[in-house]
């Protein structure tokens, strides 16, 4: 599925999965589609982003999620 999506994107055909999350459950063999949209308050890509450069150490931040994003002003 990831490869198909990549190939579609490169060639520019079909409907890309932008804004859609596909959830796959192998046990029930079902797919669900969830709409996802850009969050205007997103710390990274929102209207007033607080993350404007990379964090120094992502491994350390993963140990302590509070440090993953600077606090909003």
């Amino acid at each position: 599925m990831m490869a198909t999506e990549a190939i579609k994107y490169i060639i520019g055909i079909g409907e890309p999965l932008i804004g859609r999350l596909i959830l796959y459950d192998a046990l029930s063999m079902t797919y669900r589609e969830m709409k996802i949209s850009r969050d205007e308050n997103c710390p990274l890509c929102g209207d007033n982003p607080v993350i404007t450069e990379l964090i120094d150490d992502y491994d350390a931040a993963a140990e302590n999620p509070d440090t993953f994003a600077p606090a909003a002003d």
Binding site: A3, G19, I36, C45, Y58
Partner: protein, 306 residues
Amino acid sequence: MKSYRQIVEEAKTEIPELTVDEVKSEQDKDSDFVLLDVRDEDEYRAGYIPNAVHVTRGMLEFSVENYIPDRNQKVIVYCAAGLRSLLAAKSLREMGYTDTISLAGGYRDWMTAGYPTAQDKPMTHEQLDRYSRHFMLTEVGEQGQAKLLDAKVLMVGAGGLGSPAGVYLGAAGVGHLGIIDSDVVELSNLQRQILHRTESVGTPKVQSATTTIKSLNPDIDITPYNLRLTADNVEEIFSEYDLIVDGCDNFATRYLVNDAAVLMNKPVVHGSIFQFEGQVTLFKPNEGPCYRCMYPTPPPPGMVPS
């Protein structure tokens, strides 16, 4: 019964024509139109007008909607000399396209006028054979394959998610694949990580992935990065690629990929999986959400299944 001349004369009464000079000046003005090349594959292969969409006259009615979904889009059709394009433009009108025009004199006059042309890198006999099943799909065709061969895709992770993605991307002929992973192959990986082989246990995953994909398709270039993606190396590596395929297995890397991709405006095919459940989406900066829109920060370490 009508002769071809009558058919052409009829089409001329219905379809407006433009000269190559007029089309060139439309192009220079950046007018909103689609240039449609309806010649055969071999004619197209020898050269075409830049940015033209190619659908052969024979496949026109079957696949034009895939390329030009908007029936009100202005379409300028061309062929070699301006006859097939008249008939094609007429067929498009019958299909409901409202604004179709034929390029009088066609590609021949365009060349004579000395206007710019483009040509895809010619494919070798082996490539024409190897990718022949792609050519049968009108949505892909030789044009699509040329795009794949020109594409540069970075796979983050050569494990459970990266394996099937890498196999398919390599086989499909994505011309340049980067693979980044710092792990070595373990026996317990082999039950699902199909890029790796029993004899590769103990060797770097990127090395084993490169060997597998190269043996599937020697036609593509692969750059292995036997290292861990960090804030220090991500920008240099990402800058080489058009698209990131994120199949990593930890939150640190996932957030790093997302942050760098947004800051560098790179699209990411995102996948993740846990036991029997998986998810996939495409994050395209400025056009949709990013991973942080869904999860601004990762869950506390104790909550993370591994």
